[in-house]
């Protein structure tokens, strides 16, 4: 088991590129149920050692820059040094020799000194007398004698465009090379030099060499900001990598990846749809259809807290601001015992803490909405980040819609996070860090139509707020994380005189403990408690078909009834799992037990799970999983008839998978996983109707009669984020079927079954601030039931026609294929960067079929095309 931590050059608080490390940096941080080592303190250069300039090279006037891979040991000394790109002429050996004399402050992972590897570039520059400049031609060379350091330059090294402070930049006057200094984590340096002219040179890896001349008077102190130009504004990754984990399949990606993929408009959740195992949702909606499961069977967490709403307005942008996320983990199945209440997959979105160097921000404007993001350090070890978004499509739609039809959608969301300790600040004596995170979302939709005889007036309002606290404590090989949270949800619908309202107060807590007992045993255990109270009220007509038996085509006038219900939900779960390592084999048995009180009823579930991983080589592993998964029914569906079915119980699934992963290069890896999932006791509709001996009828809304199975193979060939490129090829070959239990009905294809799902994604960064990303998708058409019109079938009572269909879902819609392209142009200005982007969906205007309509007699069918050629321009400023 090993950990890979990559910190690119421009990342806050680091001037080097941290690359692959080995098991010595492994830590047992508990975050999202798995080990996630966090770089809490970057190493800083304390002692710079000047290399001996190769004599031949000096004689020839050669200069060079040697890129090295440097291991910094936990005490700050330099361990192994290797040259990444040899340059010859003796520079490589000289650089290695100098680096061994460097000394750094120790890097910290999870607040504990740890060995890390960094990339360091040593610049060899010929020491020459100060060039006095054109105006000073013929000036006397500077005396090389002992310098009277009677002047001072106080500099701040800043990255042009991002305003990020550049630590560990080497500043020196060429005429006083022995007086070199380095910038600290805030990019500041103090250089004491003799008065007079200073040919100042500032060198930092991946920035263009900065040279200027400073003239200093005796005793003078100059404070100057130096803006360094990035060599190439490459992709930046804060912390990422494969972690010590037990899940067989985990897809993780970073902010950089999610914000650049064509066709997703930078939406982190929609990016998940481009991974193996996820079926394509129609009309570009954001539903997650994972390995044949219904969208409601895949749960989404934000910082470990389940969120009730994933997308604004049901299928619009996700409620997560892309600037605010640190990473997104997606488990299509076989997830750890820490997660529950889902029989499909799990998405865990992790927010990020605010910057610690200086304040930064971003503002984005596009066709639908505008958003703003802000982050800043408040004090040593204390940072804040905040984001907000508001739509304005409600102001634009009336301009394009008919006057008789008014749609006014409005949405907004926010995130605010405060962090104390744990990064770059003073190391907490007990290794603790704290955060407070508040986020929420609000959607309103007003629909007014005066088309035809029936005016439609519909008002819907959905909102939620969550406040999440986190205490992360690490001591030795033990990590503990406590995450309490509270929340409020509102859902209301006004449709004419009918009104429905539901207020829900939620509270919960997660506690996760991880202990590395020995090198071969790691234990994780915890609790996951959720409680909610829903207070619902409705003012609605007597419901035909529910409260009385309606006649076909009847919409009579009736009295309005008042309904009020309070529905309690409690679900408490305990889990435990252990990594047992024997040689190359790691086995992780796990168990999750839950007890739920749903609308006054008790339901228990035990989910045993087992994972195994055999590490053939450092690059190749075989992995497999088996497990039971349960998902409690919604408490509202367990109300007394006719509104619910009190006898409902957990939906259940057996999930299994077997796969192999191989890392070909530093950036390229391939994962092939086969899976077989069987879902049973799924909630189906309608439930049974029971006629009692006294003639009364009990109609149950639902039953646990849903059966489903899905099997297939998923392939992910991925080029992880490098400086200039990232991308992946995702392919899924699968079959998903369903049937109703207790019937003789055979299995039929499920609604979203898609045999082949191929996604190609690539994004390349080009010179002059250009970046081009492409996404190509090919997906087998969804199943549909063929129309078999032999005669019109008319029902006079409701004045409608019925269709005559063939075998259920026995044919398919035409295959889907589409190419999307995104072009970005970055303008790097002194204090900020402007990103102008053009996101083009469906470049070759393919008329893909998204749905099928029929004429009123069901004689012929009409295909509804999807999104046509659609260019969208947006602008984002970050600073």
């Amino acid at each position: 088991m090993w950990v890979q931590v990559t910190v690119a050059l421009c990342a806050p608080g680091a001037a080097w590129a941290f690359d692959e490390t080995t098991s010595e940096v492994r830590r047992t941080t508990v975050d999202a149920g798995v080990h996630v080592p966090v770089l809490t303190k970057a190493p800083a250069l304390l002692e710079f050692a000047k290399a001996v300039y190769p004599a031949d090279a000096q004689a020839q006037g050669l200069t060079s820059a040697v890129k090295l891979l440097v291991t910094i040991l936990p005490d700050g000394s330099v361990g192994e040094v290797s040259v990444r790109e040899p340059v010859g002429n003796g520079f490589d050996e000289a650089a290695i020799e100098a680096l061994h004399r460097f000394r750094f402050s120790p890097a910290e992972l999870d607040n504990v000194p740890a060995a890390v590897q960094i990339e360091y570039v040593y610049h060899f520059v010929l020491d020459v007398p100060v060039d006095a400049g054109p105006g000073d031609a013929g000036a006397e060379p500077v005396d090389a004698g002992p310098p009277p350091n009677d002047a001072t330059i106080i500099g701040t090294v800043i990255a042009r465009g991002s305003r990020k402070r550049v630590p560990a930049a080497i500043a020196q006057c060429d005429n006083w090379p022995d007086l070199a200094t380095t910038s600290d984590e805030q990019g500041k340096f103090v250089l004491n030099v003799p008065s007079g002219d200073c040919a100042l040179r500032i060198a930092a890896t991946d920035f263009m060499l900065y040279q200027t001349k400073q003239t200093l008077e005796h005793g003078e102190t100059k404070e100057v900001n130096y803006f360094l130009i990035p060599k190439v504004a490459g992709y930046q990754t804060v912390v990422r990598g494969e972690r010590d984990k037990q899940e067989v399949v985990r897809r993780s990606f970073s902010r950089e990846e999610v914000s650049r993929i064509p066709g997703t408009f930078g939406d982190p959740i929609r990016v998940i749809q481009n991974f193996p195992g996820v079926a394509r949702a129609p009309f570009g909606l954001g539903q997650l259809i994972v390995r044949g499961a219904n969208p409601s069977q895949t749960l989404t967490y934000f910082d470990g807290v389940q969120i009730p709403l994933l997308f604004h307005l049901g299928g619009g942008p996700s409620i997560v601001n892309a600037d605010f996320l640190d990473r997104v983990d997606f488990f299509p199945g076989g997830f750890g015992a820490r997660y529950g209440r889902a029989v499909g997959g799990v998405v865990d979105v992790a927010s990020r803490r605010g910057a610690s160097d200086t304040w930064h921000g971003a503002a984005k404007v596009d066709l639908l909405d505008s958003s703003i993001f802000f982050e800043a350090p408040l004090a040593e070890g204390v940072s804040v980040a905040a984001a907000a978004r508001r739509s304005y499509i409600d102001a634009l739609l009336p301009a394009v819609l008919p006057k008789a039809f008014l749609v006014l959608p409005v949405y907004w969301d926010y995130q605010v996070r405060l962090d104390v300790g744990g990064k770059k600040g003073e190391k907490q004596s007990d290794g603790s860090s704290y955060s407070l995170f508040a986020f929420g979302s609000d959607d309103t939709l007003k629909l007014i139509s005066s088309v035809g005889n029936r005016g439609i007036s519909l008002d819907t309002h959905t909102l939620f707020h969550r406040i999440v606290g986190t205490w992360l404590m690490r001591k030795g090989d033990t990590t503990f994380k406590l995450t309490p949270y509270v929340g409020y949800d509102l859902a209301s619908v006004d449709f004419g005189i009918a009104k429905l309202n539901a207020d829900t107060w939620t509270g919960g807590m997660r506690a996760d403990l991880g202990v590395e007992v020995s090198p071969w045993l790691t234990v994780r255990t915890g609790a996951d408690i959720f409680d909610s109270v829903l207070v619902g009220s409705a003012s609605i007509p007597t419901l035909d078909g529910v409260q009385y038996i309606s006649f076909p085509g009847a919409d009579p006038r009736t009295t309005t009834q008042q309904i009020a219900e309070t529905v309690n939900t409690f679900d408490g779960a305990l889990y435990a799992e252990a990594d047992l390592s024997v040689g190359k084999l790691t086995v992780t048995p796990g168990l999750r037990g839950s007890m739920a009180f749903l609308a006054g009823q008790t339901r228990n579930a035990w989910d045993p799970r087992l994972w195994a991983r055999y590490q053939f080589t450092e690059a190749t592993s075989l992995k497999g999983s088996l497990g039971l998964y349960t998902q409690p029914p919604a408490a509202t569906s367990m109300l007394a008839p006719p509104f619910g079915t009190p006898s409902l119980t957990h939906e259940r699934a057996f999930q299994s998978s077997l796969g192999v992963a191989h890392r070909f290069t530093e950036f390229i890896n391939v994962d092939v996983t086969g899976f077989y999932n069987r879902r049973y006791e799924n909630v189906s509709s309608p439930g049974p109707t029971v006629v009692a001996a006294d003639g009364t009828v009990t109609q149950y809304r639902n039953a646990n009669d849903g059966l489903g199975r899905a099997y297939g193979v998923e392939v992910l060939a991925r080029h992880e984020v490098s400086k200039y490129f990232f991308g992946w090829i995702a392919y899924t070959l699968s079959r998903s079927e369903q049937r109703t239990a207790h019937t003789s009905d055979p299995y039929v294809l499920s609604t979203f079954d898609q045999t082949h799902i191929l996604t190609l994604i690539g994004s390349v960064r080009l010179p002059y601030g250009f970046e081009i990303g492409v996404r190509f998708r090919y997906v087998t058409g969804r199943p549909k039931t063929p129309l078999d019109h032999q005669a019109d079938v008319f029902q006079a009572d409701d004045y409608s026609y019925s269709a005559t269909f063939g075998a259920t879902r026995s044919i398919r819609q035409p295959d889907f294929h589409q190419l999307d392209v995104r072009i970005d142009k970055n303008f790097i200005l002194k204090n900020f960067t402007l990103d102008l982007y053009l996101d083009i969906q469906n470049v070759y205007n393919q008329a893909n079929t998204e749905a099928t309509f029929y004429d009123y007699r069901f004689r012929t069918e009409f295909n509804v095309p999807g999104i046509p050629f659609l260019p969208v321009i947006g602008l984002k400023a970050s600073f």
């Binding site: 009309f283 819609l401 008919p402 039809f405 749609v407 088309v451 035809g452 005889n453 029936r454 005016g455 439609i456 449709f495 004419g496 005189i497 009918a498 609605i540 007509p541 007597t542 409260q547 009385y548 038996i549 309606s550 006649f551 076909p552 085509g553 009847a554 919409d555 009579p556 006038r557 009736t558 009295t559 309005t560 006719p642 109707t689 006629v691 001996a693 003639g695 009364t696 009828v697 032999q790 005669a791 019109d792 079938v793 008319f794 029902q795 006079a796 009572d797 004045y799 019925s802 998204e850 749905a851 309509f853 004429d855 009123y856 007699r857 009409f862 295909n863 509804v864 095309p865 999807g866």
Partner: protein
């Protein structure tokens, strides 16, 4: 309500995506069944419904059905009451061609073609042409080939065992002799049990009249129209004719309802702005009945235009009016 939601979602989809143009249901171009009615629309049996339910349960279980002689006689007396069964047929392209029909009574509502072996009875066959096809039938008095009373099999098949009324499906199998067009049209005949004294037998809804551009439009008067100007139409107020009625809830308590008639609008040329008017939506709001006729802008031939207005009360009662206008380009 369902219609309103369907129309709203279709409208949204039409606006957001490009739904291809579909044939307009208000325009009569080929063989259609426009309306079906029974007179009377409902037969109410003063019986103990629970007895029926018990019988139905026994039948469903394969047990022997033993009818109480008194109830049997009572059922037979009501179920054998002859009904006037009328179907309005349009066949504008048929030019008076003959159509073969077979009137069938079925055991299962879901058997739209009424051809499940052993589960239907033929009431009458013959040939007809466009216009009204009327016949006297006694579907409730029919016996299946198995010897079971048809009415009882309907109860057995009913999820609610007759609680919402025994709804006996009658299907008119209508086919052009050249077999180019074929329609199965289903109408439910309602045999109700009186659970509460307040339950009253249904009365067929009848539109008291229609207006053309704000003027009365009595039967036989041919209105004149020209060009492409839309003509507003509105039925004469019938709100006083809409009845209060009572149905049993699923817990056998009375539910008071008030009819909200629906009208379907049909024309032989051009289109109506609404196919269906009236009824209520999810919130209980009642839809208006204003409508307008838009002549076909591509028509060039002077012609008579026939309008049909089919009214339904939502309880099985149905009738229609026809009016004629003369249109010039």
């Amino acid at each position: 309500m369902k219609t309103a939601l369907r129309n709203a979602s279709l409208l949204v989809l039409t606006l957001l995506a490009c739904v291809p143009a579909q044939p307009d249901p208000t325009t009569l171009v080929d063989l259609r069944v426009l309306g079906m009615s029974f007179e009377p629309p409902e037969i109410m049996i003063p019986c103990d419904a629970r007895l029926l339910l018990g019988l139905a349960s026994a039948g469903a279980d394969g047990g022997t059905i033993t009818l109480d002689p008194a109830l049997q006689a009572q059922l037979a007396a009501f179920a054998s009451k002859p009904l006037q069964f009328t179907t309005l047929i349009a066949d504008p392209a048929g030019k008076g061609r003959q159509l073969a029909y077979d009137a069938l009574a079925c055991a299962k509502t879901s058997d739209r073609a009424c051809d499940n072996p052993g589960e239907f009875v033929s009431l009458k066959t013959g040939q007809t042409s466009a216009g009204e096809l009327a016949m006297q039938v006694t579907p409730g008095a029919q016996f299946l080939a198995s010897g079971d009373p048809l009415l009882l099999d309907v109860v057995v098949d009913d999820t609610f065992k007759g609680l919402g009324g025994i709804r006996l499906p009658v299907v008119l199998d209508l086919q052009a002799l050249d077999k180019t067009e074929h329609i199965y049209a289903q109408k439910l005949m309602v045999y109700s049990c009186r659970f509460f004294p307040s339950q009253k037998v249904n009365v067929t809804p009848v539109l008291p009249g229609m207006t053309w551009n704000g003027e009365d439009w009595p039967e036989g008067e041919v209105k004149q129209a020209s060009g492409t100007t839309a003509v507003p139409m509105l039925p004469v107020d019938f709100s006083m004719l809409e009845e209060d009625y009572v149905v049993p809830s699923i817990m056998l308590t009375p539910v008071a309802l008030h009819e909200a008639w629906k009208i379907n609008w049909l024309t032989t040329m051009g289109v109506m702005s609404s196919y269906e008017t009236g009824g209520t939506d999810f919130s209980g709001g009642v839809g208006a009945h204003t409508n307008s006729w838009k002549p076909d802008p591509t028509a060039t031939t002077e012609q008579d235009v026939t309008f049909t207005f089919v009214v339904r009360d939502g309880r099985g009662g149905e009738s229609w009016l026809t009016r004629t206008a003369h249109w010039k380009p």
